[in-house]
């Protein structure tokens, strides 16, 4: 069976890995430490090909019924 790239599915929002600099900026903007961020598993199919490691910050751009477009952040965890 052909492998399906889930990231291309309409229901899967865009996941972007942030650079260390961007990550620091986001942490500062929310004056929060990385532990306070929502998490995402490293093995999450939506992160396939992004080459993430533990502690990376992922920006997720979703459609929102109230705000049109909205950004969400998640930090990569192993388990």
């Amino acid at each position: 069976m052909a492998k399906v790239d889930v990231r291309k599915h309409v229901l899967v929002p865009k996941h972007v890995k942030l650079s260390e600099k961007e990550k620091e900026e986001v942490l500062k903007a929310y004056s929060a430490t990385i532990e306070n961020f929502p998490r995402i598993l490293k093995k999450d199919p939506a992160l396939e090909g992004l080459n993430v490691k533990y502690g990376d910050l992922i920006r997720i751009e979703r459609k929102s019924p109230t705000a049109g477009k909205t950004v969400f952040y998640r930090t990569v965890v192993l388990s």
Partner: protein, 862 residues
């Protein structure tokens, strides 16, 4: 889990350890050693080293704790201890002791399991203990030992084991010879920590020998306070009585041992000590006679305090009750303000408000005291500055008036204008508990304005509600500022008013504001006055005024509004400069959760004004109906003969159509809809035809029923729908069970009065009759089927959705919107990066959206 790759450690409660206090610990935590059973000396002062020792905490107001220096209620009390002359067994752990004795060697105290086997089973046992608890683990160990036991010798030292039996409750025998607690304790002492673990005990928290008590902790006096009776006599708590027995017997035991008394006397006293300590822990042990008061009633000791329905857990913790509260049946009173609550006078004389005496109000408060508890408004209690409360009775009134001076507190009856918190269960949202101002009224129900029924979800079919009287200045201020009905007007769920006109108030305003309504100016002034509007200067200066002009008298002069109503004749509602120009006032504008009229009033003039206007509108609506008269009658559903003929025709046509569909189906001419079987297609088509027929009768009814009060209620949205009316006048229609026509019952048919395989309308639950004309038996039966199903459905769904809501509310209760608009929990973890993804406070919006256009216009106009 700390990990090389995952270095963060989150704080977590990993385990909770339960254990037994060691004698060393008991001595360490104790504030005093108790040596004498005496409680008080001749002056009535607690004896040092007695059970009421001042070092154990304070129970008298004004005194300070000898140990920590805190006052009453600040000091939680301190434990003491008694050293027992001889050890005794703790009743709660008898079964553990028995297991330990039976499954360890009487010589070397090792587990009766060969070393190799211990190694083999240890891990498995520990895992079992972790999963299922130490009781299961202990059971498993016993099973293993019993299965492996060969002969009665210890696998370690080869000593011969004897049979151990227990004579309930606390005596152990080894082959007929009694094991004294001393011997027992020394055996338990010898069990190694490793072996203790095999028995499912954590040796750090529970060394087996600690189960045999040598030092008994004495609970602080704060948990066994003495009470002073009316006569001035002191009455001690049950626990203190029991502890007195223990100390007394312990002392005698000491003396007898020291005096070298015969062993038999010592043993008797020892047994007595065991009995007292056992009943101290649990006075309902099966084999023991319970310790009793002199009156013969059994003492309530530690276990009885906690256990059962009257115990601490079910009675005090799970079932907390509150003072200064009241509960009765509610009834409506549209003459009350929205933020008032009517309180029965007898309730007002039971509930009190504490009022502090100052030099300015002393004469005022003296009058309350003078009237006492039986005259309203009087007072029930006077509190002295030292915290002593005195009940006012006929005899004490005079003395209390004399005594009263600044610093005293008078607990006076509740009066008009006092603050109360009103509540109806289930308290699902914050509007279920609102602050109202009291109005003391005759009769015995709590009364509320029907406009606030909606947030409470209350009706008057026997509902009861609770009322609380806040007792401190802070609580009253908080309730008034944060909880008063005004503040709860706009729903945080959808940003519209949750308080609105209902029922008669809607009908009344609809009739008033409909085109064509007019009355003499004189009548209009009276009408406004009866609705509580004294100022009629807004009424136009003419002899006859229109209903819309009367309604406009309630609106502020600079208010403009555009909206829609339910009405077909006057759908556009326009208010210009405080005048209702066109449109009727119906549920769309005055009802709760609909339309922006109330929302805009709230926004422009503030909550107090909006609530005030709403209250007046409500009263006006009711007053209109009072003046005009309003009745719903059976004759409202009468139809002219032509209309009935029309309905007849509709049915005949529909029946023919259904018959046609069935014969099509039988002859195979019917074509299946995509994704449906032939049978389903037939059902769908029949349902469609029948529903169309019902709708047509509805239309005929709507066209032919004369303008009546019943119709007014339906179209103004006050109560009922046009469909309800059609069902009464025209035809009830198809009864549907789970979206289909009724199909089960007998084999191949719904009822025995039909032919098998009959698919016609009347055999499958179509009710041709109206509620007024009456139902045929089969029709009645079909309606009952559907009615029962609907009842079952609600009965099953309510608790289910209620529990779902509860779980959700509990899971979300500590989330908070921070200043940067993020939503975080109490641990600072981010849940949303922007509240609701748009950072919009719904309660400040208008129906969930912002009116940007108006905001811009207002900004431009300055």
């Amino acid at each position: 889990m700390p990990d090389a790759e995952e270095p963060y450690v989150y704080k977590k409660v990993s385990t909770v350890v339960f254990g037994v206090l060691s004698p060393k610990l008991i001595r360490k935590i104790a504030a005093a050693k108790i040596v004498t059973p005496e409680l008080y000396d001749k002056e009535g002062y607690p004896v040092d080293g007695g059970l009421m020792d001042v070092r154990l905490g304070v129970i008298d107001p004004g005194l300070r704790c000898k140990t920590c220096g805190s006052k009453l209620k600040e000091c939680t009390g301190h434990f003491g201890y008694i050293a027992l002359a001889r050890p005794v067994i703790h009743i709660s752990f008898v079964s553990v002791i028995l297991t330990l004795l039976r499954y360890t060697c009487r010589e070397c105290s090792r587990v009766l399991l060969p070393a190799a086997k211990i190694e083999q089973y240890a891990d498995r046992l520990k895992r079992l203990g972790k999963d299922k608890g130490s009781d299961v683990m202990r059971k498993k160990l016993k099973d293993i030992i019993n299965a492996l036991r060969s002969g009665s010798r210890c696998p370690h030292c080869k000593a011969k084991q004897k049979k151990i039996v227990i004579e309930k409750p606390t005596t152990f025998f080894e082959d007929e010879r009694r094991i004294s607690p001393i011997e027992l304790r020394s055996r338990l002492e010898k069990i190694t920590d490793a072996d203790v673990e095999l028995f499912g005990l954590n040796p750090a928290a529970v060394r087996p020998e600690w189960i045999v008590i040598t030092v008994l902790p004495i609970p602080p006096v704060t948990m066994r306070p003495s009470i002073t009776l009316e006569t001035g006599e002191r009455s001690e708590d049950d626990l203190t009585h029991k502890l007195g027995d223990i100390v007394r017997i312990n002392q005698r035991l000491f003396e007898n041992i020291n005096a070298g008394a015969p062993e038999i006397i010592v043993e008797d006293l020892w047994d007595l000590l065991q009995y007292h300590i056992t009943t101290f822990f649990d006075n309902e042990v099966a084999q023991l006679p319970p310790a009793r008061h002199r009156s013969g009633q059994p003492l309530k000791t530690l276990t009885e305090r906690i256990k059962s329905k009257e115990g601490r857990i079910r009675h005090n913790l799970t079932g907390k009750r509150t003072n200064f509260s009241a509960r009765t049946v509610i009834s409506p009173d549209p003459l009350l303000e929205l933020n008032e609550v009517g309180m029965p006078d007898i309730m007002a004389m039971k509930l009190t408000v504490p009022e502090r005496v100052t030099e300015w109000n002393i004469n005022y408060l003296k009058e309350f005291v003078r009237r006492g508890p039986k005259a309203y408004p009087g007072a029930n209690y006077v509190v002295r500055p030292d915290g002593r409360k005195k009940r006012l009775t006929e005899e004490t009134i005079e003395a209390s008036i004399e005594e009263l001076q600044p610093g005293y507190i008078v607990e006076r009856h509740v009066m008009d204008g006092d603050i109360a918190v009103f509540n109806r269960q289930p308290s699902l949202h914050r509007m279920s508990m609102m602050c109202h101002k009291v109005r003391v009224l005759p009769f015995k129900t709590l009364r509320l304005n029907p406009a606030v029924c909606f947030p409470y979800n209350a009706d008057f079919d026997g509902d009861e509600m609770n009322l609380h009287i806040p007792q401190t200045e802070e609580a009253r201020a908080e309730a008034e500022l944060l909880m008063i009905v005004d503040t709860q007007m706009i729903s945080p769920r959808y940003g519209l008013s949750v308080i609105g006109c209902i029922q008669d108030a809607i009908s009344g305003n609809y009739l008033l504001t409909k085109n064509g309504f007019s009355m003499s100016r004189q009548d209009a002034v009276n009408l406004l006055a009866s609705a509580g509007i004294a100022d009629s200067s807004k009424l136009p200066k003419k002899d006859v005024v229109a209903g819309k002009e009367i309604f406009s008298a309630l609106l502020p002069d600079d208010f403009s509004f555009a909206g829609r109503s339910k009405s077909r004749e006057e759908p556009e509602v326009v208010i210009k400069d405080g005048k209702l120009v066109s449109g009727v006032m119906d549920k769309n504008n005055l009802g709760e959760g609909s339309g922006l009229l109330l929302r805009n009033l709230h926004k422009k003039y503030g909550r107090h004004f909006a609530l005030d206007v709403l209250g007046k509108v409500f009263k006006l609506g009711v007053a209109v109906l009072m003046k005009r008269g309003f009745t719903t009658a059976v004759s409202d559903t009468d139809l002219p003969p032509e209309a009935r003929l029309q309905i007849q025709n509709v049915f005949e046509r529909a029946e023919k159509e259904v018959a046609g569909l069935i014969s099509h189906y039988n002859s195979g001419q019917l074509e299946a809809l995509p994704g449906r079987t032939l049978k389903e297609t037939l059902e769908l088509k029949i349902l469609e035809v029948l529903n169309r027929a019902r709708d047509e009768t509805g239309k005929i009814v709507a066209m032919n029923v004369e303008a009546s009060h019943t119709i007014v209620m339906a179209i103004s949205g006050a109560r009922g729908t046009p469909l309800n009316l059609a069902q009464m006048a025209g035809c009830v229609g198809q009864q549907a069970l789970r979206g289909r026509r009724i199909e089960n019952g007998y084999y191949g048919r719904t009822l025995s009065c039909f032919r098998k395989g009959d698919l016609s309308a009347e055999s499958r639950g179509f009710i041709k009759n109206s509620f007024k004309s009456g139902l045929r038996p089969a029709e009645f039966f079909f309606q009952s089927i559907v009615g029962r199903d609907a009842l079952m459905d609600t009965a099953l769904r309510t608790p289910k959705s209620g529990y779902l809501y509860r779980r959700l509310a509990n899971a979300l209760q500590d989330l908070k919107v921070e200043y940067d608009n993020t939503v975080r929990d109490s641990g600072g973890r981010i849940v949303q990066f922007s509240y609701g993804e748009d950072s919009l406070d719904v309660s400040k919006s208008e129906g969930g959206v912002l009116n940007v256009k108006r905001a811009v216009n207002e900004a431009l106009e300055g």
